[in-house]
Every structure is written in structure tokens, then in C-alpha cells.
Symmetry: C2
Subunit: 333 residues, 2 copies
């Protein structure tokens, strides 16, 4: 279960109108601004973390959940409008958890760039993560919305729980599907949900239905991530196949494949130590049809997410949210 890039984000942004690209650019500027000013070392690490990027899917969700009218207003507003702050805060929390994850995984690369852990060591990476967390909340404060802070704080708690659950479950091939889904919910979907809630709140809308949408596509997003880790191809995902297997992270494709193939059920995850071995097991998983089944579960979640969108949503906003939802499952990296 590792981070992967979003679907055709650029396409979605283009379809969504100029106010969305303006806001994403303003979010980018603000992220760069906020990662400085914390003393030379820490600022360096924070800036590098933020600059290493990712597709900014979570800020995009914030903006799209707010809808066209709120986005257009924010795009033209002076200073730092609430929608920019909300997008920034969500991305800062996401980045904070990635930096902490890298410490725990002793990961040397993320998105092809050296991690803070690799460059600065455990202390620097722990402090950088803590700083990004703290900055996220101070950024959100200025929106003046306690509900937004609560939503982000709840998501942060969920992320911490999810991280721990994943590690508690490591190497346990017998983990049930429900437990796997709970993990997706905590580790990924909670922040997707918060992103949508923040956007809705900025627009003065009810956050619940859009939050539910975010939660469902978040679970689907994580399932796809886990499918791509098995299916590759490595040149698209930027990682070798089977990194989850090598990390001891038992994900949906493996769980389903074990039910279908007794020889896979007999595999002890602790004994998967070499990339070639992992690749072979990936082939075994693919042969059972587990990847199709996992993809189809993700599709079902996305369909449920789209069905649950509020009836009164402006057609333009609905169309672009549907595009995002489809992008979550129709992706190959």
C-alpha cells in the first residue's frame, strides 16, 4: 500500500475551468511560501518535501468539492482565500504523514527523489513531519471555520491509526478483507473525505454528502494503488512490482488470490525477500483473476460514490467530480 499518482489530473483540471487551474497554482505558491521560515535546516527539508510534488489530488478535491461559484470567487479574491488555505492544509497533512512513513520504512526515495530521512536522518524527518502538521492547522485557522479544523484533525487521527494498523497487520497473510478495507479507510479515505468536506464547507454547503463521496473514492483509490503494485508495469508506476509483498503489506489482490489458489495461500509472506520472488508471486496473483476482482470492487465503490452525489449539484460540478471518480480507478500509474 503505497502512494501513487492520481489519474489524468491535468485533463480534469482543463475540463473544470480556468478558476481551478488558478487555484491550484495559488495553492502551489502558498505551499512553497509556508514551507520556508522555519530555520535553515527545517525549511530546507520542508521545501524539498513540498517541491517533490505528487499530483496534488487532495487539493484538487477541495477545489472541486467547493464547486464552480466558490472556486471562481476564491480564484479572484485578494490575500489567501479560504479555499487556498484548505487545499494547502490538506496537502500539508498528507506530506507530513509521508515524511513520517518514510522514517518508519527507512525509505531512501520517494517519487524518485531522496527522502528527508535519507538526506537528514530520523530526527530531521520526524521534526519536518511535525512542522508540516503544525503548519497545516495554523493555515486552516484563518478560514475561521471550526468544522474545517475538526475535519482535518479527525482525518489526521485516522491517518495515525491507519499507519499503525498497517504495521500491526504486517506479514499477516490471514488478514480479512474487512480489516483491509478499514485500513484503506483510515490511511487513505479519511483525508479524501476531509478534502471534500473542506471544499463543501468553504462553499457553505452541507459537507456530509461530498464527504461520503470523498471517502468512497478514497477507498477505491487505495485499492487501485494496491492493484498497480501487483500488475505494474514498473515503467508506469515507477516502482518494481510487488513492493507491498516485500514490505509485508498484505493487500486486497493477495487476499483474494489466496482464496482462489491454495499454492498462494501456502506462501508465508515473511519468506518473500527477493524482487524476483515477489514478481513471480505477482504473476500468480494475476493468474487467479484477483486483479480484475479488486478492480471491479473499486469500480463498484466509485459507482456508489457517484450515485450518492447530491441531486441538486450543478451539472458542471457533477460532471467533473464524476471525471475524478473515474480517474481514480481508470489509471495505470
Amino acid at each position: 500500500m503505497s502512494a501513487a499518482s492520481a489519474g489524468p489530473v491535468t485533463e480534469i483540471v482543463e475540463a473544470a475551468g480556468v478558476q481551478v487551474s488558478v487555484l491550484l497554482a495559488r495553492i502551489e505558491d502558498r505551499l512553497a511560501e509556508l514551507s520556508g521560515g522555519a530555520g535553515p535546516d527545517l525549511s530546507d527539508h520542508a521545501t524539498r518535501t513540498i517541491a517533490a510534488g505528487g499530483k496534488r489530488l487532495r487539493p484538487l478535491l477541495v477545489v472541486l468539492a467547493a464547486g464552480e461559484r466558490a472556486a471562481r470567487r476564491a480564484a479572484q479574491a485578494p490575500g489567501v482565500p479560504g479555499l487556498v488555505r484548505a487545499g494547502v492544509a490538506v496537502e500539508l497533512v498528507h506530506s507530513a504523514t509521508l515524511v513520517h512513513d518514510d522514517v518508519l520504512d527507512m525509505a531512501s526515495l520517494r517519487r524518485g527523489k531522496p527522502t528527508v530521512f535519507a538526506l537528514g536522518g530520523r530526527a530531521a524527518a520526524t521534526a519536518t513531519g511535525d512542522l508540516l502538521f503544525a503548519r497545516a492547522f495554523s493555515e486552516l485557522v484563518a478560514t475561521g471555520s471550526p468544522e474545517q479544523i475538526r475535519a482535518l484533525s479527525d482525518a489526521s487521527s485516522a491517518l495515525a491509526q491507519g499507519e499503525l494498523l498497517q504495521r500491526a497487520d504486517a506479514w499477516d497473510a490471514g488478514v480479512p478483507v474487512e480489516r483491509y478495507l478499514l485500513r484503506c479507510e483510515l490511511k487513505t479515505a479519511a483525508l479524501f473525505q476531509a478534502a471534500c468536506e473542506l471544499g463543501a464547507l468553504e462553499a457553505g454547503a452541507d459537507p456530509a454528502p461530498l464527504g461520503a463521496f470523498g471517502r468512497l473514492i478514497g477507498i477505491a483509490f487505495q485499492i487501485l494503488d494496491d492493484v498497480l503494485d501487483v500488475s505494474g508495469p514498473a515503467e508506469r508506476t515507477g516502482k518494481h512490482r510487488g513492493t507491498d509483498l516485500l514490505d509485508g503489506t498484505v493487500t486486497l489482490p493477495f487476499i483474494l488470490a489466496r482464496q482462489a489458489d491454495p499454492s498462494l495461500a501456502a506462501v508465508d509472506p515473511r519468506l518473500i525477500t527477493k524482487p524476483a520472488q515477489a514478481a513471480q508471486i505477482c504473476d500468480g496473483i494475476a493468474a487467479t483473476g484477483a486483479l480484475e476482482e479488486a478492480r471491479s470492487r473499486a469500480h463498484a465503490l466509485v459507482a456508489q460514490a457517484v450515485d450518492g452525489l447530491p441531486a441538486g449539484l450543478p451539472p458542471g460540478q457533477r460532471a467533473v467530480l464524476e471525471k475524478v471518480a473515474a480517474g481514480v480507478v481508470e489509471r495505470y500509474s
Copy 2:
């Protein structure tokens, strides 16, 4: 530079009036309540962390900075009054950083009890710290005061910077006094300052003068901590003498002693590896008079803190804040 207990907190609480003990008890209950509800493992770790205690000096500062009238009102208020939330939030941030520090130090004991790191490992401790951080902000949200959230967030950023600075400076015997003081400011004083600001804000008072008071006694508190690490006695501080020397943390007593004694200036901190050796260097530091000089600097900071208290402060509140300030430097554990 390690955490130590506050001065005669019980005495101060008794002198401050019943509303203060009531509020501290309510803060304690609320801390216990909040550390649950995060899944069995994480709740366990969080609860244990909170229960391991400490003297709750920071929540005490919150309550005392608010003054008698606001404290009395909060003590009698139903639900969870803002002053309780503020005290809880400050203690949660403090606990979060301790848990993360323990991971980085690979510390097995804190306050005589096994750390989360020792019981649950790095992942559990990192997640527990993150959870406590997130909970701190969601707790504070309900006060409805953006200034409070900003104050706590700024302090959290400072803590992260201070932590990193301390590690960057590790084993560097040539670190100047100013740099040491900056470290105290970031790692300790910023949260003392925030505690006082939160209290003042809850009382509707100007947060600046009380914040300045908190900052100054915070620096003094850290200096005393560092003095006690050299002076012992171990049976009062609960630690061996010279743990800072063994950790590579170069503190004020050592910096001053090196200026006075060329044989100490010649010591390479990296070569201090055994407790007996550290104890011997502690004796050498004490022989230079550096402990008295450090104590007298701390006294001067406390005097400055007291001088800066607003003229209009009610005499009862002034008296108890002076008692806290004195307790910070007149302590032996």
C-alpha cells in the same frame, strides 16, 4: 536537555485557590477521555502516555494566566469549558513531542515507566505522537478562538525546530551561548509562552505580556533542567548525572565551564561514553562555578519575567504567578 518535573506545584495549586485544583482535575479527566477512542492499540499507547503524567506545569500555566475570575467561571461551567480545552491541548502537544523524542532517542524509560517506543516500537510511537498532535488541535477548536490555534500551532512549529536544532548541535562542544538559548526558546519556552497566551485569551486579556512572562520562565526552566542534569542528586531527579553529556547535548553549564577550565575545553564530547566518566566531568563542571552562574542567569530571567507582568494584574494572580516563576528556578528535581 531533558524533561524534568516542575517545582513545588502542589503548593502553588493550594495557594491559588480551589478553582485551580478543580480545573486541573477536569483537565486530567478530559485528557484521559481524549486518549481513548482511537482503536485498541493506539488508545492504549495514548492513554499510557497521558497517564504517565508529569506535573502538568503547562496546563497550570494556562489556568493561572487566565486569572481567578476566568478560572472560577470555568471551574463551574458545564460541559468542557474553554480553559479546560486549552490546558488539555497544551499538554497533548507536550506529550506528543515527548513521545516523538523518545523514538529518536530510542529511550526505554520516561518518568520511570516504559515508553511507547519500548512497548510498541517506532511505528506505534510515531503514530501515537501524531495522534496526540491531531487531538490537541481538535480539542482547541471548540474554544472558537483562531488566535489560540495559531498560538499552539506556532509553538508546535517551534518545538519541531528546537528538536532539530538540538540534534544538529549534538556533540558540538563549541556551540555558543546564544545558540543554546535559542534552543531553549524553541524547545521549551515557546510552549510555555503559548500556555500563558491561551490562558490570557480565555480570560479576554491581552496575550502579549503574559506570553512574554511564559517565554522567559520557560527559558529559565530549561536552564534549571540542564543544571540539575549536572548537579543531581540522582535520587531527586530520577536520572543519573550527566545524561546530557552522554547524549551529546551540550548545555549551558558545560559551555560556561569550558570557558573557565581549559581541561574541560579540551574534552571531546564524543569520547564521553560511560556514566562514571560523565559523573566525573559533572564534578569538573561544578568545580568551575558554572552551575551557580547558570542558576543566576535563570534567576535573572525569572526576575525579568516578573518585572514584565502587567501593572494592572490582580494582586492574587500576580502573587501566584510569582510563585510559579520562583518555583521554576528554586527546584531540585
